[in-house]
Symmetry: D2
Subunit: 476 residues, 4 copies
Amino acid sequence: MGLKTPAEYIASLNDGRVTYWDGERIDNITTHPKFRVPIAVAARDYEHTSPERAEVMTYKTETGERAHRVFQIPRNEDDLSKRVQMMHEMSIVGGVTGVMMALMSVKDAVAEVSPRYAANIERMYHYVRDNDLRAAEVITDPKGDRSRRAHEQDDPDLYVRIVKRTDEGIVVRGAKLHISAASLVHELVVMPTKGMRQDETDYAVSFSVPVNTPGVKIINRSFAPAELNEFDYPASAHHSMPEGFVIFDDVFVPWDRVFLAGEVQLASRLAQSLGLWERTGGLVAAVGSSKLFVGLAQLISEMQGKDRDAHVQGTIAELICYHEMLKMALDYALRHYEVTPSGMVHPNVLAVNASKYYYAANYHDSVKYLQDLCGGLVVTLPTESDLRNEESGRYIRKYLKTKSNVDVETRMRLYNLVRDMTADAYGGWHLVVALQAGGGLSAQRTMMNRIFDMAGAREMALAAAGVTRPVAQAAE
Amino acid sequence: MGLKTPAEYIASLNDGRVTYWDGERIDNITTHPKFRVPIAVAARDYEHTSPERAEVMTYKTETGERAHRVFQIPRNEDDLSKRVQMMHEMSIVGGVTGVMMALMSVKDAVAEVSPRYAANIERMYHYVRDNDLRAAEVITDPKGDRSRRAHEQDDPDLYVRIVKRTDEGIVVRGAKLHISAASLVHELVVMPTKGMRQDETDYAVSFSVPVNTPGVKIINRSFAPAELNEFDYPASAHHSMPEGFVIFDDVFVPWDRVFLAGEVQLASRLAQSLGLWERTGGLVAAVGSSKLFVGLAQLISEMQGKDRDAHVQGTIAELICYHEMLKMALDYALRHYEVTPSGMVHPNVLAVNASKYYYAANYHDSVKYLQDLCGGLVVTLPTESDLRNEESGRYIRKYLKTKSNVDVETRMRLYNLVRDMTADAYGGWHLVVALQAGGGLSAQRTMMNRIFDMAGAREMALAAAGVTRPVAQAAE
Amino acid sequence: MGLKTPAEYIASLNDGRVTYWDGERIDNITTHPKFRVPIAVAARDYEHTSPERAEVMTYKTETGERAHRVFQIPRNEDDLSKRVQMMHEMSIVGGVTGVMMALMSVKDAVAEVSPRYAANIERMYHYVRDNDLRAAEVITDPKGDRSRRAHEQDDPDLYVRIVKRTDEGIVVRGAKLHISAASLVHELVVMPTKGMRQDETDYAVSFSVPVNTPGVKIINRSFAPAELNEFDYPASAHHSMPEGFVIFDDVFVPWDRVFLAGEVQLASRLAQSLGLWERTGGLVAAVGSSKLFVGLAQLISEMQGKDRDAHVQGTIAELICYHEMLKMALDYALRHYEVTPSGMVHPNVLAVNASKYYYAANYHDSVKYLQDLCGGLVVTLPTESDLRNEESGRYIRKYLKTKSNVDVETRMRLYNLVRDMTADAYGGWHLVVALQAGGGLSAQRTMMNRIFDMAGAREMALAAAGVTRPVAQAAE
Amino acid sequence: MGLKTPAEYIASLNDGRVTYWDGERIDNITTHPKFRVPIAVAARDYEHTSPERAEVMTYKTETGERAHRVFQIPRNEDDLSKRVQMMHEMSIVGGVTGVMMALMSVKDAVAEVSPRYAANIERMYHYVRDNDLRAAEVITDPKGDRSRRAHEQDDPDLYVRIVKRTDEGIVVRGAKLHISAASLVHELVVMPTKGMRQDETDYAVSFSVPVNTPGVKIINRSFAPAELNEFDYPASAHHSMPEGFVIFDDVFVPWDRVFLAGEVQLASRLAQSLGLWERTGGLVAAVGSSKLFVGLAQLISEMQGKDRDAHVQGTIAELICYHEMLKMALDYALRHYEVTPSGMVHPNVLAVNASKYYYAANYHDSVKYLQDLCGGLVVTLPTESDLRNEESGRYIRKYLKTKSNVDVETRMRLYNLVRDMTADAYGGWHLVVALQAGGGLSAQRTMMNRIFDMAGAREMALAAAGVTRPVAQAAE
C-alpha cells in the first residue's frame, strides 16, 4: 500500500486486461509499441521524488500517510488551488482519476437512499487512494436512437443495463464510448449517462470494476501514430492517450462494488457529478493552452520580423483577450467555490459552465487567429528526418534562417508545435474535445439556463422598467 | 464647506457659465427645460440622507469629516469594492468626477518633475472634495488631420495649447470634444490628449478651471428629447446627460491651477491616467446592463409564452455567458488590484483592458440577441399617451394581453426599456459609447499588447516546443 | 382612373380614416404636422413626370395604359430587375404595396379551392392598380400566449377572426401589429399570420378593406420626431414612416373582398406568400445601405487623415466583403428566378432566404465596424442650429476643420448620416427591422432547413464517404 | 504529342528528378510507397476514356486536336463554367497546372516590355499543352526577415535571384516554399513572390524549368500517412498530395525559358496573376465542401435520431447559409467575368476576392458547427481493422447500431469522413489552406480595399448626406 513508483504502475498494467487496437488483440500492453508513449505519459504522474514535485503531486492524508494529490478532497480555497496547480502538471490518466471526486461528492445524496451504496463509495475511494490506482470516468452510452429512451431502443443493450441480480451481485451488459485512457487505468468507474425514469430501473446503474474483470473489453483509438518524436510532435509526444470503446459483456459486479442498482431517482445526480470536474479540467487546460497560443504567435511573428505589423499585433491582442478572460474566469471559479453538505468544496458551478462555454464557443476562432499569423509553413515544413539528412538539411538550415539571432531548429520546433496542436491529428482531437468534453454547445447552454440567478435578473429588469409591484404578480 | 444638498448643487450651477444647446445660448441652466432631466439626474448623487445610502455614497475623510465617496482614495480591496458599489448608483456626473482619482494617481510622477504642480494637484483635490464639487474629464482634442502631429496642423489651435505665459499664469486656446456632462460640473480638469514630443511644448498642458471662467464656452448635445417620461423612456429618463463641445477662447489659468505647462515628458502619463478609471466605469456599467439584458429577455419571453422554446433558451444562454464573463472579470480586476508608489490602489490594468475590450467587441452582438428575442413590438409599441387615451387605450390593453397573470402596463414598460436601451437614441448612444469610451477597438487592442505578460508566454511556448536554451538566445 | 399625381394622392388620404398618434385622435392626417414628412415621403412615389423616372416607376399594362410599376407582374428576368431598380427608389409605402404581388402569386392555389375567392383577388388587383392606390401588408396578429394556438387563448380575439357570417359578407374582429405605413395607404390587405388547423376555421381569414371602413382604427408609432431637418437627419428626413397597430372592431367585409373565410388548408399558403417579397425588399435595401456604409467609413476616415491606417483599411474591407456578398446574392436570386404555374416569376426563394439571413445575422456587426471607425463625434456633434448660431457656429467651423480640402458642413452631414442610420432612433428601428422583417433569426433558419436541396447534400456526403448503396437504404 | 494516358504520365515521372521525403532521397518516385496514393490521385486526371468524362476533361484546340481542358483559354462565360465543372473533378496536380492560365493572362503586358519573353510564354504554353504535361505554381520565397526587402537580407539568397547571366541563359539560386505537388509535375513555373524595386533587379525573375533540371531539389511534406485506406480516410485517400520545399541550387535556365530577368516593373504583375486562379480554385472547392458539410451534419443527425432537435436544425441552417452564400458568389464571379485585352476571360476579381475572404474568415466556424453536431465519436470511433477483427467487430456492429434502417458501416464511414476532413491531419491542412491559399486574411482584405468601387460608394454617401457639390471638392 502507499504511493506507487512509475515502474510499479507500469508492471501493474500487465494484468490480463483485454484490449484491442487497430484490429489486433494485445495481451500485454506494457511491451507493445503502440502503448509506449501513452504509458510513458501516464507513468510520469507517478514521478514525485523531487521535493518540489512531491509538494505539488502528493499530500498527507488523515492517517498521516502521503497519497497522490488527485485523491485529496478539497476543504477550502487553498486545497482547490493546489489541485489546479497539480492539474496543470498531470496527464489525462491522472485527470480522469478525478472521477473519485465526483463519486465522493454524491456520497451524501446516495446515503439518503442507501447507506450501503454510500459505504461502498467510501470504501472504493480508500481502496483506490491507498493503492495509488488510477480510475476512468465511464459514462457515455452508445444511446442508439436519441429520440427514444433507454428502454425503448430496438436493442435493449444500447445503454448499459443490469441483466441479472443475484445474492452476490449484479451482471451488467452494454458499452460505453469515449472513455479516455480506459486501457491505462486500474478501475472503471461506471456512471449512468443521464437521468432515468421509473420504468428504466435496469438502466440506473453505477459501479466500479477492475479493468481485468472477465467480460470487460476495450477497443482503443488514438489520434496519434505510434512513433512520435519530440521534434516533429512536441505536444502529442507528451499527451498521446488512446480513447476506449469499453464493452461490458455480461460482467459480474459484486454488491460491495455497486453504487446504484435501480434507484432511478439518483441516476441524474450521479450523471451530473462528473460534468463539473470534467469542465473544470477543460478550463484549466484552456488557460494554459490559450497563453501558449499567444507565445507562439508572438515568437513566430518576431522570428519573421512581422511583430510590428498592425495586423499581427491586432490578432495577437485577440489571443491575449481570449486568454485573459479564461484566466480571470478560472480565478473566479476557485475563489467563489461552493461547499457540499459534508464540507467538500468545489469550483463555482455557474462560473465553470459559463467559462467552459466561452472557451468552447471561441476555441476554433482562436485557432484561426494563430494559424492566420503563422502562414503556410505550419503544414509544409519538412520533418526532422529531412533536417538530419545532411544534404536536404543543409538547404533547410539555409533557407529557413530569418535573422542572425534566430535559430532554425527553434523556429522549426515552434512551427511543429503549432501544427501538432492545431493542424494535425492531435489538433483535430483538440477541436472536438474543446467542444464536446463535458457536453456539446447546446448542453452547456442548457446548464447556464438552469443555474443562472434568473430571479435576480428578472427583479433587476422590472425595477429598471419602473415596475413597482411584486415580481410574482408582474409575470408568472 | 462639506457635503452639499441637492438644492445647493442645483443653485451652484447658476454661476454665469456660457452654454449653448440647439442654437440657443442659455444663461441659467437651472431653469431651462432642456436641462430639467439632466440636472435631476445629477442632483440625485447628492442625496444620501438615509443611513444605507450614506454608507454607500459618503465616507469619513482623514480629518474626520464626511465627504462624497467619489473622492475616497482607495487604499485596499475593500475600498475598491465600496467604490464599485457606489459607481453602480452614480450618475455620469459623479462618474466623470473620477477624474480626481486619475489626477491623484499621477501626483507622485508629477512631483518628480515639478513639486509645485504636484502641490497644485493636491490642493485642487482637497478643494473639490471639501466643497463637494463635480469635475469633468476634459481630454479629447479635435485633432484635425490625424496623420499630422499637433504642431503640424494647418490651424495650430486644433489641439489645446498655451498661447501666452505670464507671471500670473498661462493663457490657453483650443477645444475639447466629447466632454460628458461638461455643463453640469463645477471644474473642468484638462489633460493632454496624448503624448507630446520635444517640439510640442505648448501642447503639453494640464490644468483645472471653473466652468464659469471667462472664455470657456460649452455647446451641448444630447441623444435625448427634452420631455422624457418614465413610461416611454424608462432608462434615458434616468440617465439623460448632454455631451459638451468645450471651447477655451484664450482662457487665463493662474499658476496655482496648472498641472503641466510644457514638460512634454509627462504628457503621455497624464493622458493615460484617465483611461483606466474610464474603462473601469464602463466595465461596472456593463456588468449591470448585461444582467439587465438577461432579465429583459427572460421576462418578455415568459410573457409571450416562449420561454420554453429551444431557440429562446439558447439565445438567453448567450446573454448569460456574456454577463458572467464580465462579472467574473470585474471581480478579478478588483481582487488583483495594483498599488501606486504612494499607496493608492487601482483595479488591475490588464484585467480592465481585456474585459473592456471583450465588452466592446461583443456588445453589438448582445443587442442583437436581445432584439431577436423581443420581436418587432420593440419599435412599434404605442406610447403611453395612446395607452392613456381612453379609446385607443382600451384596444391596447385588450390586444397586448397575453396570459392572465401578465399585466399589460408592465409588459409595455419592459418593451420600452428594451427600445430605450437598444433601439432608440439612447440605445444608439450606448452602442457608440460601448465602443469608444476609453478608446476604440484598435486602441484597446494596443493596450493589451503593451501590458500582457509576453515574457511568460514566450517562455511557455519555448518550453512546450522543447527548446532548452535561454529565451534570449532563441529569438530577439 | 389611371396614375395619380402626388397632390391627388395626398387629397385621397383625407377620407375619414380613424388614426391615433401619441394619444391624439387625428381626423385629417393631410394637415397634421406629425404626418408632414411621412406624407411627403409617400407622395414622392407618385412623382414620375421626367422620362427617366417614368421609365423606372411606371409600365404599360396589357390594356395599353400606364400604371405604377409596383403593380407589374414580372414575367421574366428583365421584369424582375426593373422591379428591383424601382424598389431602390421607392418609399416604404410603395414597398408594402408589394402585397399585391403576394396576393396574385397565390391566386392559382386559391382558385383550386374557391374560384370565387380567386376572382376576388383578380378584381382587387385591377382595382388597386387602375386607381393607383397603395395597400398595406396586414399580417401579424398579437398572438397572446405563443404556447397556445389561436383558438386556445384566454381572449378569442388575439388572432383576427370571423365573428359573424351573413349573406352579404363577414364581420371580423381582432388586431394586427407592425403594419408599416398603415395610415398612409388606401387598402388594408389582411392575411392569416400562420397556418391554421381544422378547429381554427374562424381564424383562416383573408380580405381587403379600405382604411376608412367603419371599425378600422390605427394607432401610429414612429421612431422619428415630427421635425426632421435634412442636415441633422439626412436619412430619416427621407424615410420617416409610422408603423400601425391596426384594430378591426367588428368590421364588415362584403363577400367580394374576401379571399379566405374558413378554408384552413390555404392559411399557411397565404401567410407565406408575403414573406418572399418582404425579404426581397429587405435584401434590396441591404445591398444599398451596405455600400453606403463603406462610403461613409471611407470618407470619414479620409477627412480625418486616417485612411492609410491598417486598422481602418482592415475594417473597411470587412464592410466591403459584407456588401459584396449581399450584392452577389441578390444578383443570383434574380437570375435564378422561379416561375409559378401561371407564369409569374419571383426571386429564387432559397437565395433570398439565405441572403436575408446572412444580412440579418451580420447587420449589427456591420454597424459596429462603421461606428468603430467614426469615433465619438457620431453622438457628440453639435446640431445644425448650433452651426447656424453665429457665435457657436464660428467655433464649430474652426475646430471641426481637419484639412484644407475638407468642408466642415460636409463633414458634419456625414457624421449626422452615420448617427441617423446607426445611432439614433432611426438606426435603432433599423437594427430591429433588419432582424425581424420577414421573421426573426430562428424563423429564417427554419425556412432554410425546409427548402435547401438536402437530398443532393445527403447524396454527396454518402458518395464522398464511399457508400455505394442507394441513399434510401443507407439512412431513413 | 497529344493526350497522355495515366500510365504514360506515371512513366514520365521517373526522369531522374531529385526528391527527399522524411529524410530519404528517393530516386524513382513511381515505385516508392509514399508516392503510391499521390501518384494515383494525379494519374486520375489523365483518365477520360468515357465520353462523359472526355467532355468534362478535354477540349478541341484551335488546331483541331484534343487537349486537356486545363489548358483551354476561356473566351466566354460557357468556357468558364466548363472550366469550373472540370475543377470540381480535378486533383491538386491538375489544379496547379492552372499556372499556365496565369502566365497567358500576363502575356500582353509582358509583350509591351519584351516581345521575346512574351513569345517564350506562348511557346511554353503550347509545349506544356501539346505534351499534356503538368506544371506547378512556384511563387513563395522563404523571405527571411519580413521587415527587410529582398536585397537587404543577411543572406542574399532568401529570395530566388539571378546569380549569373550568360549568352545562353541565366543561373538562378534560392528556394520556394509551399509548392503543392512539386514532385508530381513536369514543369516548375517560377514567379516573383511580390513586386520588386529598382535596386532589386536580380530578384525580378520568372522562368520555367523541368523538374529534373540539374540543381533542382524537392523536399516533400505531407499531412498524410503513406497507408491510407478508403474506409478510415475517405477524403485523404483521394486527395493526399505532398507539398514541396523546392531548391534551386545554381540552376541554369536557357533564355527561351525565361519570362522575366530584371524588368522590375513587371514583377508585381506576374506575382498577382497567380492569385486570381488560386483563389478561384479555393472558392470552387469551398462550394463543394460546404455542401458536403451540410449533408454530413444531416445524415449523422438523422442516424442518431436528432434531426428534429431545434439546436440541430439551427446549426444545420448555419451550414446551409454558408454554402448558399459561397455558391451564389461563385455564380456571380463567373457570370460577371472580366476580359483581358487579348480576349481571355477570367472570373470577376472583386467577386472572387470577397468570397474567398468570406470563405476563409468563416471556415473555422463551419468546422465548429459540424463538429458540434457530430459529437465525440468523430475522434473515438474504432478503425476499420477493429471492425474487421471478428471479436471486436461484433461489438462495434452491435453498439453503433442506432435504428433498424441505419447501416453501421455507412455510419462509420460518415464519421470517418468528418474526422478526416476536419479533425485529423488532412483536416488540419484544410484549416491552414483555407486561410493561407491565395494569401492570409490581411492580404485578402488589402485586395478588397484596392479593387472595390470606392468612387461609387463615396458618391453614394455624399448624395445620401445631402452634399450636392462635386465629390472632388468635398474631400480629397
